[in-house]
Symmetry: C2
Subunit: 208 residues, 2 copies
Amino acid sequence: MLSSENTGVPARTVERLVLYRRLLNGLTEQGVEFIHSHEIAEKANNSAAQVRRDLMAIGYTGNPARGYAVNDLVRSINGLFEQKRDQKAALVGIGKLGRAILGYFALRQARPRIVAAFDSDPAKGQGEFAGCPCYPVDALTSVIARDGITVGILTVPADFAQPVTDLMLVAGVRGILNFAPTPLKTPAWAVVDNVDIATKLEKVAFFC
Amino acid sequence: MLSSENTGVPARTVERLVLYRRLLNGLTEQGVEFIHSHEIAEKANNSAAQVRRDLMAIGYTGNPARGYAVNDLVRSINGLFEQKRDQKAALVGIGKLGRAILGYFALRQARPRIVAAFDSDPAKGQGEFAGCPCYPVDALTSVIARDGITVGILTVPADFAQPVTDLMLVAGVRGILNFAPTPLKTPAWAVVDNVDIATKLEKVAFFC
DNA sequence: GTCTGATTGTGAAATGATTCACAATGTGAA
DNA sequence: TTCACATTGTGAATCATTTCACAATCAGAC
């Protein structure tokens, strides 16, 4: 589950690289051309050593005196995602959470692009939300295959999570971001990441 | 950040225990009295050894021949959270995501209970959503102090995340579940968990 | 009552992630 | 040009998490 068979870059590092890129974006416009590992660390709430290790993972190399060239570094991080740049995602389950996520991604033009949404309620499963075309779940297999969608976002009630997952994987999806509070049974090649909000909240409360 | 100063139970283990409890709930009604580590592992998508280690962490001990007594085990996991059972949470940022979370928790009566919501828009910041009273952010400090709220849920735009965090921590909040795509500066004693949906989606796409 | 066999509890090993610590390096100052 | 200095890149150490593997244990069969 979420192995790095891909490039050898560990999952944690990928997450932090995405963060670094966000922190660096727009810095050049503010006249910042170079930045040191400890400055990135300060922004990212982690250690300078951690930052250097992460950049090492993508083979990016800075300059002992100047630090890292902001623009170049951002390009370098983008390079890591270049290959997967045009992946498409589909969201299943147009409840409140589903709509919130659709809205967020439409607004930000974030990647991967969400190009289809599905719902079992025929009333919701047509038309569009946040500029994203919606279909009834019956159309799931054909639309995913037709559009070459490879990433699925699951915002369905727990009971539907597994059947929808099975459908998606058959149709061509290889990775799933699962918001349903259920572990998913998937073949080993599938990439799954679970975001269980209730559990996370309980965890935070526990450690207070 | 999210250390286990508390009880010595590591954060990962706490998350899995919450999951086990959910998987076990209602099993007794189905006539299942005992369950083996490998059966729990099967449901939870992990290994039997992992399950046994996790139960070891809370000092729960099974029976080599029967396995674990379902009811008793659930009680034991509940025991871990007993002390924190009546913690209260507040949500700040009544956007789409905020409302989705409010709705979800109200419905499930999940813990910690969300007892207040805040928004900077005065129009939203009064009345209630999903049975949860809403206030303008001006009232944040006083309401949090008044109600003894210790957990904060941040669903505000990135720019507001830090100032709202500062307010909450001063008012008495000790733990924050942060959905804003920004690292938060907090004192060491504060517990913070970040849920960055855009990053997670990009990560899944990357490993596909 | 004894024996059998599957399962638990847990040291020890393996794996993975982070931090340490320092030689190598490039820059700007003298 | 040379020097001094802060920073990089990175082996090695540390710390955390998971898996291995096996003695100890319990229930049920005989």
